[in-house]
Amino acid sequence: MWRKQPEAKPSPAGAPGIQSSPSYAPATELPVRSSTPSSGIGAPSSSTTSSYSPAPSSPDGAVLTSGIRIKGELSGKADLVIDGEIEGNIRLIESRLTIGPSGNVKASIEAREVTVRGSVEGNVRGRERITLGSSSRVKGDLEAPRIAIEDGAKFKGRVEMGPTADAREHQSKRNAPETVVSAPTTSSTLGTTAAPGSPTPAQTSSPMNASTANPVEPVGAHTKP
């Protein structure tokens, strides 16, 4: 709602470093090399692609096509689509990472936005959000301010929603020069941040009284610990 929508751009054909075809997983795309310089991987990133797109294509990012396998550390500033295999660490803290349906990643992942449609084994941290598509298979912990999980996603691990540790650090750094006396604090416990307007912890009345009128068969009795 608050983020800028992608703007209609002229055809990228001919632009240096930008693939001409917006189609997904182009056969001519060069594979991404591990330990790439921070100046970018494959192609320059664009700030206009920050919003989430359900389509896995990333016309102005890099694409790791299926059949390519990388072991090591992968970092950069460009958006990245992975349809190959990666083992190691992925760190794209300013970019969007999409793991396509045939992508297979065994790595700890940190990115601005992470969208998974393939297989991931490892912890995933999203500075803004994590999306698990219906075809995703994820084994590891998720940590992001916002997490979206589509029906059918296979997930095993812990979910922590709330600002990530890095995001909190960034926030405090950003606020430090402006707030001399007391910097605004954020929740110190991940996963415990209630959404705005969310209800307080369940204030249900004792069901012991309510259940007596219902056609149920209570066996035993509970006392609240």
């Binding site: 296979k154 996963g191 056609p215």
Partner: protein
Amino acid sequence: MNWMSKPRLGSTAAAPLRVKKYDSIGMPASRNGNENLRLSNGLKDFLWLISDVENGRLLDLGPVSQATLNFFIERGFRVTTDDLQRSWAQFRAIEEEKQRNLPPSDFNEPLTAEEIAQQFLQNSLQYADDEFNAVLVWDLFDHLDADMLPRIANRLYDIVHPGGAVLGMFHSKPAERSYRYRIVDNQTIEMIPVGPPIAPERAFQNREILNLFGRFRSAKTFVGRDQLREGLFIK
């Protein structure tokens, strides 16, 4: 003056659409045309028991559900999801494949069901003792081998914090379909029919359930007209 003609502000008559009507306990509550909704007294008790837990930890042993995640995260819980039924199905398939591929030999005896269960649990439910304040089991026990049941129940007892609660569903008659469960509100569960990954193995009697969770300090079951029994167990 006719006092009844003008409903007072804030009265239920002023907002008739907000009145929830359920058919009966344990039966699908036809709300907004959704026949999959089920009023759950077990859930209501479960939430009441954990309502004053601060920074609690919840383990969901069913398929991951965004709605259920949000429901508990908004209430301050850290949520861990572990789809044990799916893990078991995968493990069993791998083991069966291994058994098929064993070369014929006197030394290669197939594993017994008990040994398979033991192996599965060596890599499953590996959480610290007393780690969770609440566990959602759903209808997991309907789909596991008999050898697994007491082991899983014992393991659950170990990983639940003293005073913590476990909520499970048990079919009193063989279920016609498999379901995914998601929490809608404080006393409503949505049962979403799905294709059965493993056909339900059994239908539970009340005594079997209580025996299975005998180590727990307290047990309470609710059965609805749809023959789905809810069990609530407190360590």
